[in-house]
């Protein structure tokens, strides 16, 4: 007999040790998320995956699946919360979708569409965040960073390089690189690093490959993000320490 829990009236099987998020995705159910990635330890900072577990709010990516849990996901109250969270992420950075190379492949943009975010919602902060184009193969555009920590985790857990970290606090929290000069070119970063391939938005861009796929034919142009749950489902670990 398999262990199961209830996700919005659907029965979801799980194996012991799985989180609600892992089990839901593996069963083809999408729970909105940005800082979750199947190959890394979850930490639950973006809060997009907030669900109600037996009536209490919890992040789906960190809460362990248990037999008999009643998990609410696709309900109005949570949709309103998630819309506000997406609006907050748009407000604190500088996100200009029409001129962004990642448009159509961007999870933040895709979630915005999927959740029906139709307006700015909050006053935008327009922070000053200079780009770092020092590296021969990678462009860092901090304007689009949503502080999901995936590149930090990938660099530490998979690449073993600690290229990225966070500094600052509160609204001044920001991504930094591991070099006295503060330039990516002076770190051990290479284009093949795992860290350079996990950004859910357009903060880490590979040079000379822009617009290889035309806008309109990209991943989330074709199918909404909520219909791609299996693409985010847990997969075998890569490298050491990256248990999924």
């Amino acid at each position: 007999m398999t262990d199961t829990f209830l996700l919005d009236d659907q029965t979801v099987p799980f194996t012991p040790g799985q989180t609600v998020m892992q089990a839901a995705l593996a069963a083809g159910h999408h729970i909105p998320h940005l800082c979750y990635h199947p190959e890394f330890h979850p930490h639950g900072s973006c809060k997009l995956c907030t669900v109600k577990v037996n009536g209490r709010n919890a992040t789906g990516c960190t809460v362990p699946a248990q037999t008999g849990l009643k998990v609410e996901n696709d309900i109005e109250e949570l949709r309103t919360l998630r819309q506000a969270l997406v609006q907050m992420l748009f407000a604190e950075g500088n996100h200009f979708c029409p001129s962004c190379e990642i448009s159509g492949n961007c999870q933040l943009q895709a979630l915005g569409y999927d959740l029906g975010v139709m307006s700015a919602g909050f006053r935008h902060f327009f922070p000053r965040r200079p780009v770092d184009a020092s590296h021969p193969d990678i462009l860092l555009d901090f304007n689009r960073c949503i502080l999901c920590e995936l590149c930090v985790r990938a660099s530490r857990e998979v690449d073993g390089k600690d290229v990225f970290a966070f500094s600052g606090r509160g609204i001044h929290k920001h991504l930094i690189v591991n070099a006295a000069t503060g330039r990516l070119a002076d770190t051990q970063a290479t284009a093949g690093d795992k860290a350079m391939h996990v950004c859910p938005v357009g903060a880490i861009l590979h040079k000379r490959v822009g617009f290889a796929v035309p806008i309109g034919e990209r991943r989330y142009d074709k199918t909404p993000i909520s219909a791609q749950a299996l693409a985010f489902a847990p997969r075998p670990a890569v490298g050491e320490g990256g248990e999924a």
């Binding site: 930490h43 907030t50 309103t80 290229v163 970290a165 966070f166 606090r169 001044h172 929290k173």
Partner: protein
Amino acid sequence: MSTDLSELVIGACARHGNRPAALLQVLLEVQAELRHIPPEAARRVAECLGQPLSRVLGVAGFYAFLSTTPRGHYHVLFSDNITDRMLGNMDLLARLCEKLWVERGRLSSDGLVSVDTTSCTGMCDQGPALLINGLAIPGVTPERLNLIAELILARLPLESWPRELFVIQDHIRRKDMLLNHDLAPGDALRASLARVCEPGSPVEAAANERSWREGIPTGALCATLGTLEEIKRANLRGRGGAGFTTGMKWEACRNAPGPDRYVVCNADEGEPGTFKDRVLLSVHADLVFEGMTVAGYVIGARQGFLYLRGEYRYLLEPLRAVLARRRAAGLLGRGILGQTGFDFEIDIHLGAGAYVCGEESALIESLEGKRGIPRNRPPYPVTHGYLQRPTVVNNVETFCAAALIARHGGDWYRRVGTDRSAGTKLLSVSGDCARPGIYEYPFGTTVRQVLADCGAENTQAVQISGPSGVCIAAGEFDRRIAFEDLPTAGAFTVFDQGRDMFEVARNYSHFFAHESCGFCTPCRVGTTLLRDTLDKIAAGHGTRHDLAEIDRLNRVLRMGSHCGLGHTACNPTLDTLKRFPQAYERRLKAMDFVPAFDLDGALAPARRMTGRDDAAAHLATEARE
């Protein structure tokens, strides 16, 4: 690089055994010496501790008392709690800046001085207060400020400043069972060691099982379990605000698997308006350490930490002296009171200006030398705390009460207070009253009683337990200080009829935005949006739409935030909005919506540059009416 800097870093790292967990302590030493963490020092620290530079910079960038850019040879931080505001700290700050020819938040061109504000420094009963190079100066009057300015301009080293500037008062106004205690150092420990099992009691049965730690004589097990039983019988609940049952916490930690366990005393008293832990550490340090040692005995820990907030840096040496005295008296170290196997040591760890570290899991991260980010829970510290080992984290006052209970027993303790709130509570009373200070009351005391005792008149409101607590109005003064009515970590801030409760809420919104750790989206962005909304209302641009916006922000913060900081960040605004709506309404414009962006205000630099301020140089907008 200079040899001096190299020696400084190597020395600081070596003093801490080059352990990565000592990163924050090492950075504090570098900061104290050089007034900032220069790039070369950061690089050397990373090297010495075997850490990536990015981690060092990440920690340096998290704590308010660390800086990677130069600060003045004299770095002055004015405490900016609402009580300091009420005592005119902003005028004093402006006056000092003027005298020293420096802009707030900037370094003077000669590098001599920098002046800024900081979150509440825990001197609310003797404000306005400031920190100079980390040392507290309370009761800043214009006269004292003039003296400070003169001393700075004379470049006199801090050690040569008049001692009376740095004298901190205890202001103990009402004593009860805790502040009146008659324990000599070691009394609680001796009572714990001597505790015997009553034949046939559950304690005896549990002791005989000897399941958790092999090789301990039944007698010792009986004594530890017997002491635990007294703590449980006392129904002692945590004094840090959350009120978790202490006996249950200790028992869970004691029963958690694994060889090493830790006792942590949370002296990161950061809640604006709270200062009772400061007084306990000044006057009753022995009792605090005794309680920690009792906890170590009960759970089987060999190491304890006191996490002392950076604002109380001046207490570090006196506390170390108390520890040394206790070590010499056989109350710390190996074989305490001659009992083989009873080993316990206490180290003091300094905080560095981060309110969020008062949250126990963030405090543990900080103890490990990291950015103070609250952890995901479960697992809880009792099973996965410091270095992922079982850890008990309790408030200063909780350890004091535990020492009393270890000495006098649980029944003695619980005869005071109410059924659900045993014992007494220390209140830090400040604001509009004649006698601010420390008041110890049995649980169940009414707010009205406290107001009468402290000499408060025409009281409009009381903020109970600081901004993360609750604000109550005159109609609620018969409510009681107790877990079942008004739970509190101790802050009791009084506002009389003359105070503008909107400004109180606005001050607290700035506090939360400044102290949000930035980990989760709702708190990182939401606290800033709340602050900006209140600033907009204060500037006269607020509308009904903004009140709805506050409500919306509250729902997002409450539902989505990672920890209590975000959950409670809107409380002061909502409480005051509900109880004192007129404080908001008189500021609102009649219309439904006004943009936050002030078009005319944006033209100010252009006016300044062209030297114009005539009517034609202003935009006539409705917002300026």
